[in-house]
């Protein structure tokens, strides 16, 4: 090859300039592979946003309760359907979660105050262990219904990213407003409970 000769793309030596040359199978496979992979990478980037679940129908849930913490509920499991007609404060917590402890007292106090006004508190224990969970409930003298979220089924349905997270569900089974991430204060609790009063 001469050193400074201009490159002629239509080099007559190779047969590449023949029109209509068939593209071999493996090249098509590779090409498709590249596109598939590229699509995957892009999809992974455009992660679907976390289901906001704001002002939407609350996904149904079926919670098997801790035997000592049925909160007056008869039956071993509680489901949202059973609670139609009452306002539901759905709280996700865990015994290893420090911020959850900040709101535990407020939640229990609000439960005691509002339970005769048609408001139910339901606690869902996220990624936790029975002994530690029960120690936590005892420590804060919790009396509203609580149960472990087995295999994180409920947490997945509610797209939980961490704890504590709380949802306020009205008597018709619709989530009012967006989820609350982080510990709840007394004032905020009162305000949001007012929105779901039956």
């Amino acid at each position: 090859m001469t050193e400074n000769a201009p490159l002629t793309i239509n080099d007559t030596q190779d047969s590449g300039s023949r029109p209509g040359r068939k593209v071999p199978a493996f090249a098509i496979v590779l090409g498709l592979g590249v596109l598939f992979l590229g699509g995957l990478l892009i999809l992974m980037l455009i992660k679907p946003p976390q289901k906001a679940l704001c002002d939407e129908a609350a996904p149904d849930l079926s919670l098997a309760l801790f035997p000592e913490y049925t909160g007056g509920w008869t039956g071993e499991t509680i489901s949202l359907f059973d609670l139609r007609g009452k306002g539901v404060v759905l709280n996700f917590w865990a015994s290893w979660c420090k911020p959850c402890e900040d709101e535990a007292a407020a939640l229990e106090a609000a439960w005691r105050k509002y339970k005769d006004q048609g408001i139910v508190f339901v606690g869902v224990d996220y990624l936790d262990q029975d002994p530690a969970a029960k120690r936590y409930l005892e420590k804060f003298d919790i009396t509203f219904p609580n149960g472990p979220d087995l295999a994180s089924k409920i947490s997945k349905r509610y797209a939980i990213r961490g704890v504590p997270e709380t949802f306020f569900i009205d008597p018709q089974g619709t989530i009012v407003g967006c989820r609350k991430t982080g510990p709840l204060g007394d004032a905020e609790l009162v305000q949001r409970i007012a929105e779901i009063m039956p």
């Binding site: 090859m1 050193e3 400074n4 000769a5 201009p6 490159l7 793309i9 080099d11 030596q13 190779d14 047969s15 590449g16 593209v23 071999p24 090249a27 590779l30 090409g31 590249v34 596109l35 590229g38 995957l40 990478l41 892009i42 999809l43 992974m44 980037l45 992660k47 679907p48 997945k156």
Partner: protein, 682 residues
Amino acid sequence: MTDLGYIAILLAFLLCIYGIAVSVLGATRGRSELVASGRNTVYVVGGLVTIAAALMWRALLTNEFNNEFVATHSERALPTIYKISALWGGQAGSLLFWTFLACIMAASATWFFRREQASLKPWVNAVLLLYIGFFISLLLFAENPFNRLWITGAGEIAAGVFQPAGATALVPADGQGLNPQLQNYWMMIHPVALYLGFVGMTVPFAFAVAALITGQLGNTWIKLIRRWALAPWAFLTIGILLGSQWAYLELGWGGYWAWDPVENASFLPWLTATAFVHSIMIQERRGMLKVWNMVLIALTWELTLIGTFLTRSGVVQSVHSFALSAVGPMFAAFIIVTSLAFLGLMVWRLPKLKSENTLDAVMSRETSFLTQNVIFLLIMAATFLGTIFPSISELVMGDKISLNAPYFMRVNGPIFVALLILMGIAPLLAWRRSGPETLRRNFLLPVIAGLLSIPLMFALGNRNFAGFVGIATLIFVFAGIVQEYVRGVRARMTATHEPLPAALFNLVRRNGRRYGGYIVHIGVLLIALGIIGNEFYQLEGEANLRAGESITVGDYTLTYTRLDAVDGPNFTEFTSPMQLSRGGRDVGVITPKKHIYFKNQEQPMSEVGLRPGLLEDVYVVLAGWEGGGQTASFKVFINPLMSWMWVGGIVMMLGVLVSAWPRRTAVTADATRRVPGGAQHV
């Protein structure tokens, strides 16, 4: 003054565009002055990026906390060496460092090849500048290390290069400090080695592209870039081994490789690069596997990009990953476009990539090289799928699954054993065809050695099945290599009547590629030995001890004596010297430590107490303590054969040096010289 760095990379970016245009024009129009200008652009861009990097380092060393990157990754009390390494301790800075290394690599390659292959060079320069230009674009448009901190009129903190209207410069009194996990000696070298490996792959890739475009698809480009493929491969190997050593000594879980997504990201290009450096041998000798070599080098280069994409874009969860960033889409676009473009080039040149010869027999070296290509690709594909599958599963099923070491070991383990066996078989096969006589001669001793090791291990007490398989394989491969050396030396002594040492020396000197390669394989065997020891024979123990109490694991007893605390520059160091005894005999003191950083109290770092040994490592972690040291809990591991992994790494590097050493019979000047008969000896 740091702002000049921003201007430097802006200029460099524009120059990259210029350089690409000029190189392409020069090549297609045959204008050598344009080509020369393109070549000079590589040097100028390199100089500008160096200035930018130097200014960033200056900002770090002078505690310029008005700079956003410095404020978020450094602090006054940070030791100087960590201020230097802080440049690659965060997303924006590490991208700048990557670009800087890419420029060094590009400039070196341009200068090294300055008298070679002028027809290929414009295209090589264009590809190099495209790569550098892309990374500078990441700095300019997504992660800018030259952002400064401002307080807006509304009292909010903003970051940017230019002063927003109504804002004043914010100069924090001190920075947030560097992640404690990065404050150790490996941070100085592991990322550097890896990055050199990653950027280095661009050089052989650029030559491959140039060869495709110019149609010069003989062995010229392969011979030219052999060392320029071996060097980044060596850097990648060192980088991965250093990372393993870091994990072993700092993370305190007794292991060295967690199949973490970012670890896998560095492993994937290593796999295809290893296949490549072997496969090009076939093209050189027999003109075969040309398409394979194109695919392998392109895959290697793209995988370096995909790997860093996975690390930096936040799509996979990892202890290593940077925070979510805007670089993701840019990487994705670059990867897809360059992959399709390369594929198009390859399809266009397919007729010229036809094999000059065919496979002659099953039992031939060519077949084993082809098989090794397939096996390496298989491991790469399985590892890649395992790495991204959790993200895919979350997308498709909404389900978070975990894919950890158990999966990878189960899938890759058997494949690696097959690969090791192949590594032993291939050198014992002849080119083209091995008759039954050859097979018997070459395989008899190694196979017998491998099989004999089984009853020997049984007699020594081994009952672990995987251990039998692993060690027998290692012995088989090792015996094969020794046999090669012995025969080569003997033949040389017969021919030249040299004494043994001289014969050995000259044998290796004259056949550096072959015998250096064998040394690298021995290194691989040693690493495999360390892996087998750690994986199948590790002993573990944990205990909560009061002063004077001991824990016994295997032959060793460790006694807790006391807990000391002393302040370092930016941390408190807790040490607990323990009395170590073996089989009742006192052996010395072993001291695990813990660092608790002032600015990062929730992230204490363990310094493992290690007593390395040829047969086993004694490894102890100070897990925690109560009552100011009244009781302390320790985790002890006995890791057999672990030190051989590090020895193996050194041996591999020695082998690379031998293999890549320039020889008196110049390869470059008469690259097309052919030995009569068509057979070229290695």
